[in-house]
């Protein structure tokens, strides 16, 4: 068990290192941050001075090594724009992002499990068809489009829910739907096919033969077996939602990591971009690790295979 955790952590560290290289290089392709910091008519000497001050005059490789070296000690540098530690800026916004991603995931699973189960039970029936159409709609529309539609309908027209901001539970509803609708189709397919598989197994046939009520067979005995493939994907979806949150947070003015990083990209605030992306990748790796470990809880056979 410990060996598994260590191996996964090691693999995760390599992924994070890779992400750090990519974000470091790409952010520097976006232009010169100093231009954003000084007035348009600033003398070249001032520009050169600021560049030296931030170490931007050093060779790129050296800059990267410095960045990684400091990052390992928890120092991601100061935000060019806000003059405060980039890490603190990200950490302050992290709870809001996790809240949004968790609500989005909850929304998608809360839809996908019942639709998937009922579609499998009534295969080819109207629930199966309507469920598929509903799920496909979410996959066919990009999150920013869904977000705008939701605001238009539920905030502007109906005035049921706030269009943007953060604070009350009502605020999270629309962004969570915008974020969570997309993976519903894929999750429904996973649940549906897993359920079809299980419902066709001998032990379910036996359950029927010995008179177990259909409700128990479907929702207790079969769903338990069909849950494993969905669980695998949940970690991936949670991680994807952390990424998807970048767009949704911007639309709904959600004060999370995503919006902060997007703003930082526009102002070429490299330390904040780097800290934000690295933090998201760390969460990505950790959520996948948790999923791996949770298999054992659901499937007793995996527990024994180390």
């Amino acid at each position: 068990m410990l060996a598994l955790v260590l191996r996964r952590l090691w693999q995760g560290a390599i992924s994070i290192l890779g992400a750090s290289v990519i974000i470091f290089v790409i952010s520097r392709l976006s232009g010169d941050p100093v231009v954003m910091l000084v007035p348009p008519d600033a003398p070249p000497s001032l520009i050169a001075e600021i560049r030296t001050q931030y170490g931007l005059d050093q060779p790129l490789v050296w800059q990267y090594l410095l960045f990684i070296g400091h990052a390992l000690t928890g120092d991601f540098g100061n935000s060019y724009r806000w003059q405060m530690p980039a890490l603190k800026l990200i950490l302050d916004r992290l709870p809001a992002t996790i809240q949004l991603a968790a609500c989005g995931l909850l929304f998608s699973v809360a839809l996908a499990v019942p639709i998937g189960v009922l579609s499998a039970v009534h295969r080819g029936g109207w629930i199966d068809r309507i469920g598929r159409i509903f799920a496909m709609l979410g996959q066919a529309m990009p999150a920013f489009w869904v977000g705008l539609l939701l605001i238009l309908v539920f905030a502007v027209q109906l005035n049921w829910l706030p269009a943007f901001g953060h604070g009350t539970p009502a605020h999270v509803v629309l962004p969570a739907i915008a974020l969570g609708w997309y993976p519903v189709a894929a999750q429904t397919r996973i649940v549906r096919s897993a359920m079809l598989d299980v419902l066709d197994s001998d032990h379910i046939r036996l359950s029927r033969a010995l008179g177990t009520p259909e409700r128990l067979i479907v929702w207790k005995y079969a769903l338990r077996n069909a849950a494993v493939p969905l669980l695998t994907m949940l970690g991936v979806y949670f991680a994807a939602m952390l990424g998807g949150a970048f767009v949704v947070e911007t639309i709904f003015a959600w004060p999370g990591v995503g919006r902060t990083v997007v703003e930082a990209v526009f102002s070429r605030d490299f330390p904040v971009v780097q800290a934000g992306v690295l933090f998201t990748s760390i969460l990505f790796v950790l959520s996948n690790l948790l999923v791996d470990l949770s298999y054992g809880l659901v499937d007793p056979r995996i527990r024994d295979v180390r």
């Binding site: 033969a209 008179g211 177990t212 338990r224 056979r301």
Partner: protein, 310 residues
């Protein structure tokens, strides 16, 4: 105890109607064992599914102690299911891998009387003891047991509610040969101790000969020959039964198999042969076999063959 009258099952598929079971009739006598024998695909398992109410017959009637199962209401059907339990062939597929053995065995209890936690655990321990497993097995998962032990667990589950009839669908054919005798002996002991009636589905003729009181030989969804096991094995009257028995490997190295007894492969239930369904493979077939379906003749040892005298 259990009586099938002209039971028929057709499946509609894209390629046409599959005539899986056609007019099958037999009776299972109380506290005895009836064996259904035949090649794979002959309809044995479909018959078992209909008895277990997993499939509805297209025609005909299945009666349990005189009561037609087709006209039972929900409560009567539940009472029927309580008395009729099943053990399937593959003990790896028939036990839910996510549930503890105790939960698996308790499932019929939970479905029918829900006697409470303490009583359930007590009953689980009792049936585990009957099948020769320790009470501690209840806390483990199916994958921690061997095939033979799993089949014992499946038998324990079937016993949990004290049923009267057990449908055993190839209960030992998935097991190692060395384990088969143990499980069969266990089944025989249980039958004696609890006065159970067995309907066993098998293709192993040696097993059938020793384990069953009566036998029904099925060919392509029809009963070819039926009767007391001893008589059928001593004097097979239907050419198909004769061919089956001739094909049984003998422990005599000089024994020569009679390959000509039944030529060719079993026909498709999608388009079964006219008349006697066995006629294309029958070495003794005459004209009438191609046109007219033979009625079963003789009692209690009956054979559905034009060449057999009543």
């Amino acid at each position: 105890m259990l009586s099938l009258q002209n039971v028929t099952k057709h499946y509609q598929t894209r390629r046409g109607t599959v005539r899986a079971v056609e007019g099958v009739s037999f009776d299972v006598r109380p506290k005895s064992t009836l064996a259904l024998v035949g090649e794979s695909g002959c309809g044995k398992t479909t018959i078992a599914k209909m008895i277990l109410q997993l499939e509805r017959p297209t025609a005909g009637a299945i009666a349990f102690e005189g009561a037609d199962t087709a006209t039972m209401n929900a409560a009567q059907l539940k009472a029927y299911r309580r008395q009729v339990m099943a053990v399937f062939q593959d003990p790896y597929a028939s036990l839910n891998p996510r549930l503890r053995v105790g939960t698996i065995i308790a499932e019929p209890l939970l479905a029918h009387e829900n006697p409470g936690r303490a009583a359930t655990e007590k009953r689980v321990a009792e049936v585990l003891d009957i099948v020769g497993l320790p009470a501690t097995a209840a806390r483990l998962y199916p994958h921690e047991f061997s095939g033979g032990q799993r089949q014992r667990i499946a038998i324990a589950r079937a016993l949990a509610l004290r049923p009267r009839l057990m449908v055993l669908d190839e209960p030992v054919s998935a097991l190692d040969v060395s384990i088969r005798a143990q499980v069969l002996n266990l089944l025989a002991d249980i039958q004696l101790e609890f006065g159970l009636t067995y309907l066993i589905i098998a293709h192993d003729l040696a097993l059938v000969e020793h384990f069953s009181n009566d036998v029904a030989v099925i060919y392509l969804g029809r009963v070819a020959e039926a009767g007391p096991t001893e008589q059928v094995f001593a004097q097979p009257r239907h050419p198909y039964t004769q061919a089956l028995l001739a094909a049984v490997p003998q422990p005599d190295p000089d024994h020569v198999l009679n390959e000509a007894a039944a030529a060719g492969e079993i026909a498709s239930a999608l388009d079964p042969p006219s008349g006697c369904r066995f006629h294309p493979r029958c070495p003794l077939a005459i004209d009438i076999c191609r046109t007219t379906t033979p009625e079963p003749r003789g009692t209690p040892h009956q054979a559905a063959c034009h060449l057999v005298e009543a």
